[in-house]
């Protein structure tokens, strides 16, 4: 079964992964470079007798997700950077009300209308709370078409396990590029569902009425709710940090990158090894929770760290927090939809060596 490979675009793999994971409802709005997602879902979801609605705005789409999540359904929306900005209000409410869902950002260049090229400029927005209030969102960064497929399932499961929205932070390149994917690979994580019966709305038949809300006006009650959320976020930090490590054991120099930049950086590391240079690679897979401990540990054993991102330097701040001065941290970046070559990263690493 595992050899049954299909050539697929990242955006389509995401749809197939979400559908296979039992996504009940999709709500979206057109924006490049994620248009394949609503287009594909509009056909498949309807054929499967599931819910598809093209919303009148990104704001409505995220609030339709809110409604679906309120009644315990597996719901998702997708968009690209400017549209994700519009969803931030809804994300804050979803986090406050502890509603599970999947939000996909196929990032493009910014700020403003920017361009439609792949970018990683929304790292801060995704990981530091783009909306108002003290909240956290689990953020997963796929670096292949295969991971676009797999992360949909992982995201739904994490979101239900912790009753918290999960974002897949990808980009226009991974969304648009094609790779062979084996969608029936039995090594995939199994599809499971956490019960939503204990909290969702569906009419009060046989139980006391429930409400879902984020307004806590009585003195001290919101503070208590904030600490309740913090305890949950602490648990996520403890349990859910994911990263990939490659040739770090004997490395003198390590490059840290996520998403499409990681794909290119990994290739640069491979080439440096061929030249006998001891380079290594760390790829944060969860951008929140961030692998601070792993990076801290590695920074004690290497001479230098390079961070490669398609922006002006965002994740590098988290890397510096993790390193905490134990070794120098340099940055290489391309804002505005600019893309690295592996040679460029290779040369930068070689110059640091």
């Amino acid at each position: 079964m595992g050899s049954n490979k299909i050539l697929m675009k990242g955006n389509i793999a995401l749809c197939e992964g979400a559908i296979a994971a039992g996504c009940d409802a999709y709500f979206g709005y057109p924006i490049t470079p994620q248009n394949e997602v609503p287009a594909y879902m509009s056909g498949k979801m309807v054929q499967l007798d599931r819910v598809f609605v093209q919303a009148e705005s990104e704001i409505s789409a995220i609030n339709m997700v809110f409604g679906a999540a309120v009644c315990g359904k597996r719901a998702m929306t997708s968009s690209s950077s400017p549209g994700i900005s519009l969803k931030q209000e809804g994300i804050s409410y979803l986090c406050a009300c502890e509603l599970p869902c999947l939000i996909v950002n196929v990032q493009r260049g910014g700020p403003g209308l920017g361009n439609i090229a792949g970018s990683q400029a929304d790292y801060f927005q995704a990981t530091k709370g783009g909306g108002h209030g003290d909240y956290r969102m689990i953020v997963l960064a796929p670096y292949s078409v295969r991971e676009m497929y797999e992360f949909a399932n992982i995201s739904f499961q994490l979101s239900e396990k912790y009753r918290n929205p999960v974002m897949i932070l990808t980009d226009g390149i991974i969304g648009q590029m094609m790779e062979p994917v084996s969608i029936e690979d039995n090594k995939r994580e199994p599809i499971t569902r956490s019960s939503t019966d204990g909290w969702c709305l569906g009419g009060c038949l046989g139980r006391e009425p429930r409400s879902i809300k984020s307004l806590f006006m009585t003195e001290g009650v919101l503070e208590k709710h904030n600490y309740h959320l913090k305890n949950k976020y602490d648990l996520i930090k403890k349990n859910e940090v994911r990263y990939e490590e490659y040739l770090t054991e004997d490395a003198a120099i390590v490059v840290i990158a996520y998403g499409i930049s990681a794909r290119i950086a990994k290739s640069a590391v491979r080439k440096l090894r061929e030249d006998g240079i001891k380079a290594g690679f760390i790829r944060p897979i969860t951008l929140w929770p961030f692998p601070y401990d792993k990076i801290s540990e590695v920074s004690s054993c290497v001479k230098k760290i390079l961070v490669a991102e398609m922006n002006l330097g965002q994740m590098v701040e988290d890397v510096r927090l993790a390193v905490n001065g134990k070794c120098p941290v340099e940055f290489i970046g391309h804002p505005g939809g600019g893309l690295f070559t592996d040679t460029e990263i290779k040369e930068k690493l070689a110059s640091m060596f």
Partner: protein, 247 residues
């Protein structure tokens, strides 16, 4: 002795936090009575707005969710599409529905979502202290129209029933008030019908209710009622604005 008035099951045994003379208490009661008469309490999901009725879940004795300001029709769409067997309604004020949530109400109506909407029009933002609403009438003084609403600076009152009546997806639109026993009974009939339409899968129904706001209008409860009958209902005439053909 025959008991002719009692607390209806869909209202919790709590005290409303609404101001004296406010219309919300009457309208909450009419919504709750209608739900109980139709025997749908245990399958109903209500959506509370941001505004004076934000605490509606403290008063209604059935499932209620909050929604961000203006977004109840989108939240209702998500719920109803996923759970078509539930009865889903939104309860929204004029700031929520006719200002920040205009896109959401127009498109939910235009899609013909099989939901019920109660639109409480009291011609100002009650919760935040009486600012101009889209439904503030010309000449009306509010905290942000201290010289009275001036059409050249502030535009005109937005007439939601008239606006939505042109949309093909809409089944039923009626504007009512709760200023007299006669009007309260008419409002009750409209509210109940808007639920019945949903039960019969007839599509989008909205009842606009002109509601008194004595505190922010700076009027007594009785003068507020008089002002609705003599002024507000001249800009917003009561009546049925759309009714889909009977099946």
């Amino acid at each position: 002795m025959k008991k002719i008035y009692f607390k209806t099951e869909s209202l919790k045994n709590t005290i409303f936090s609404y101001c004296p003379g406010c219309g919300h208490g009457i309208i909450h009661r009419l919504v709750a009575e209608s739900i109980d008469e139709l025997n749908i309490r245990e399958t109903t999901i209500g959506i509370a707005p941001v505004g004076c009725a934000v605490f509606a879940y403290d008063y209604w004795n059935f499932d209620v969710t909050e929604a961000p300001h203006g977004r109840p029709p989108a939240v209702a769409t998500g719920i109803k599409r996923c759970c078509p067997d539930k009865i889903v309604f939104t309860y929204q004020g004029d700031g929520d529905l006719a200002a920040i949530g205009t896109a959401e109400i127009v498109h939910a109506a235009n899609r013909g979502e099989n939901i019920t909407v109660f639109f409480i029009n009291n011609a100002n933002y009650g919760m935040t202290g009486g600012q101009m609403a889209p439904t503030t009438v010309l000449g009306q003084k509010t905290t942000t129209t201290p010289f009275g609403r001036n059409s050249s600076r502030d535009g005109y009152p937005l007439k939601i029933c008239e606006l939505l009546s042109s949309l093909e997806g809409v089944c039923y639109l009626e504007r009512v008030s709760v200023t007299s026993p006669k009007n309260v009974l008419a409002a009750k009939r409209a509210i109940k019908k808007a639920f019945q339409n949903q039960i019969l899968k007839k599509g989008f129904s909205l009842v606009e209710i002109l509601s008194q706001c004595p505190t922010d209008w700076g009027k007594t409860p009785m003068d507020s009622i008089k002002w609705i009958d003599e002024v507000l209902s001249k800009t917003f005439p009561l009546g049925v604005y759309k009714e889909c053909a009977k099946k």
